[in-house]
Amino acid sequence: MTKYNRIFRVADNRRPSPGYSLIRLQSDESLPPMVPGQFVSVRVDGVQHTFLRRPFSIHNVDADDRALELLIQVVGEGSARIAALQPGDSVDMIFPLGNGFTTDIAPASEVLLTGGGAGIAPLLFLGKELRQRGIVPTFLLGGRSAANLIRMDAFEAVGRLCCTTEDGSMGERGFVTQHSILQDRRFDFIYTCGPRPMMAAVAAYARRTGSPCEVSLENTMACGIGACLCCVEDTRQGHQCVCTAGPVFNIEQLKW
């Protein structure tokens, strides 16, 4: 897939919840093909501590409007600067990067898309793509409390929505892997993105039920295009770059 380095304009930047930013970026030119699970790398100029680009998953694509959306959790200086962008500001992005999730699966399959924190970002784009292929996805989203569960309306519009919170303020109490839906059903395919311990628990569940499972990793990156070998994951095929061989890996490839 051809990669592009383009300047986008901020069309909108909203705060779905404190600490998160939903930013809509528009290009003057039409967008190239992109697949769910792919990411962009954003240049954050102006601060010596945010020297490198920052990788973010593609949350949503609106090809007709030449726009894409990112869902960003503020964790440090780079994400804070991006979250502070105003409509009209320009953003330098390299995209689309990485491999993407498997989406050519049988219609009417039962699929689970589960994530937590900013890890839910790629699951919306993925859910929409699966929906177009005649699959009604089940989203299972987790957070510490209700304030961490964002974009619920957007997910609900695409598939079935379940959630968990650690404090029980929304959905079932506990972690995603403790949700009752996992007790009643076996899924034909499971996708997950979020904190490592969560993905490891989901991978263990998938192995128990024999469901194929893909995870999206967030190893720290320098180049994002396979040139520096900084972002490697220790896989069954040796060290592989998360930015080119991933970010999506089948759990069969992983050592955890």
């Binding site: 051809t2 990669k3 592009y4 380095n5 240049r43 010596q48 501590h49 945010t50 020297f51 490198l52 680009r53 390299i94 190893n219 720290t220 990156m221 320098a222 180049c223 994002g224 295009i225 396979g226 040139a227 520096c228 070998l229 900084c230 972002c231 490697v232 994951e233 220790d234 040796g238 060290h239």
Partner: protein, 303 residues
């Protein structure tokens, strides 16, 4: 029209701008962003006699105006390079230069000899910053004796242009450069990364799996300029400068300090087309300053 060509040993570069080893893959990784054949040369990833898995993750830490890496020379070995990578890059119309690394003198020699057989590779860049496993892991390039030994041995099996890349982690770069020149190198390039370290205060742990790593990017530019200046005064062979170059002005600074050509490393991560911009910028600079040949800049610093 400004003449941008420069000479390094038997090589003619169409312009003084090359990309630094380990930051540009093998070249095709950047082909979506600009025509890489525009470059004066591409120094491909560090290649070793045997395959290496490199160091465990995490291998990278961002630091103020720079980054630390501890990739550890991950590569599939010289045989894989010759059979699988060389065929796909040999027709790129620029100088393809292989960065050769090793853990013993014998391994350097083995790797260099195999690369010598590749018609479309006119030069190697010998990375002597690697630890010598027979000498307790001390880098070859930190003593004049170690540097001399490895360069002399490789010179015997490598007839084409031999560039030796120097480590900045030394007290007297000039003496190392002279030893390398005396051993038969056609050029020296510098600097490799500066030994550094990053600590995660919250977790009270080192950021890198290897604790220490190599610092690169704009933060090392003043060190690199100083070392290029000292080296250029000490040797007669051409000096290739690098360390934090991110613009044409940076490249000019290195040339004024004594570099014949430059390499761009970490800056490729931030702007993948930066090298093309530096080439254009050099042309503009020469035009503005009434310079007919870019090589006039080399060592032209007025002190």
């Amino acid at each position: 029209m400004v003449d941008l060509t420069v000479k390094i040993g038997a090589l003619t570069l169409k312009n003084p701008v090359m990309t630094a080893s380990g930051t540009f893959g093998y070249g095709p990784e950047y082909a979506d962003f600009f025509d890489v054949a525009q470059l004066g040369g591409i120094i491909v990833k560090g290649t070793t006699a045997d395959a290496r898995e490199g160091n465990p993750y995490p291998r990278m830490a961002e630091t103020p105006s720079g980054m630390l890496n501890a990739v550890g020379l991950q590569n599939k070995g010289v045989d894989w390079f010759c059979s699988h990578i060389y065929p796909s890059i040999k027709d790129i119309d620029t100088n393809i230069i292989v960065n050769v690394s090793g853990s013993t003198v014998e391994k350097y020699v083995e790797c260099a000899a195999k690369i010598a057989a590749l018609d479309a590779v006119p030069a190697i860049e010998l990375n002597i910053s690697c630890p010598n496993v027979k000498e307790g892991g001390m880098a070859f390039g930190v003593t004049a004796k170690g540097a001399f030994e490895v360069v002399e041995a490789v010179r015997k099996v490598y007839p084409k242009t031999l560039i030796v890349k120097l480590s900045p982690n030394v007290t007297d770069i000039a003496s190392i450069a002279r030893a390398v020149e005396y051993a038969g190198a056609d050029a020296v390039s510098l600097i490799n990364t500066v030994l550094g370290m990053a600590v995660d205060a919250e977790r009270q742990r080192p950021v890198l799996s290897t604790v220490t790593g190599g610092l690169s990017g704009p933060c090392i530019k003043p060190i690199a300029l100083r070392m290029v200046w000292q080296t250029a005064k000490a040797v007669r062979i051409p000096v290739i400068g690098m360390g934090g170059i991110a613009s044409a002005a940076d490249a000019v600074e290195f040339m004024l300090a004594g570099a014949t050509a430059v390499e761009i490393g970490t800056a490729n991560f931030i702007d993948p087309a930066v090298s093309a911009k530096v080439i254009t910028g050099l042309s503009d600079y020469a035009g503005r300053h009434g310079i007919a040949q870019i090589c006039e800049l080399t060592g032209a610093l007025r002190v």
